[in-house]
Symmetry: C2
Subunit: 149 residues, 2 copies
């Protein structure tokens, strides 16, 4: 395996998990900054050309894991690998953000749902989309349907 190390940290307005919009219909429009460490600056070369980035980060304030849990978007339990729960065997989070602009080591982005100070493990360009018409969203679509009844 490998030893995870931060390549930078998230700067966001969220200091507590309760401040982050959750559940059905939650919109993640919050702006924030990905502050990359100077030693990794060269790795950002040409990142400006991408509109969206995949950010891989650590749920550093989450402890332990739960294989079956009830997410905020439903009142029924689901397997951890069918949810975005923070309490995962490997506490890895993933967020797709829109890159607004780069200012040296700072990536200004929209769509942040991480706490301030969250360690970033990796950034990858977002390259392709699954067309809406072939995407099935399992229990989440069902929970949405129930709520709109």
């Amino acid at each position: 395996m490998f030893t995870p190390r931060a390549i930078g940290f998230v700067r966001s307005a969220y200091n507590k998990t309760t401040e982050i919009p959750k559940g059905l219909g939650a919109k993640h429009e919050a702006e924030g900054v990905l502050e990359i460490l100077r030693e990794f600056e060269v790795g950002l070369t040409d990142i400006e050309g991408f509109s969206h980035l995949i950010v891989i980060w650590v749920f550093d304030r989450s402890e332990g894991f739960e294989l079956l849990g009830t997410p905020p978007s439903d009142n029924r339990p689901h397997g951890v690998f069918a949810t975005r729960s923070p309490r995962r065997p490997n506490p890895i989070g993933l967020t797709v953000v829109e890159l607004l602009r780069r200012d040296g080591l700072l990536l200004h982005v929209r769509g942040v749902d991480m706490l301030d100070g969250t360690p970033i493990l990796d950034i990858k360009p977002y390259l392709s989309s699954i067309p809406e018409e072939v995407l099935r969203r399992g229990w989440l679509a069902e929970a949405e349907a129930r709520q709109s009844e």
Copy 2:
């Protein structure tokens, strides 16, 4: 931080990286299996309802990292965070696969681009798409345009 642990392993037909389609126009239609360890089986509850999954895994046969590298899809160097290079500060890979069916601990999937035996760190449901019309793909779009000239 945390200590990464495998929740399972990829079973694929690829034993060498040279066998995996790479570069512009590479299609990842290969079928494979995500073999989850029994201790994590409950975490798969309800995963059958999702058509696509995000698989987070380890480039376990990659050594060290390179902040600037030339990907197979271009003849110009780009920053590691603007590519899918395996030689990353944290050797974490990400693949979106289509879930064909679940058979207990085995998730049969399409779209595998990992080597046989690759350790899996996490699986998350794929929930949303960025519409094609707002997605910009930076140097990759330019490299494609140059190649089709």
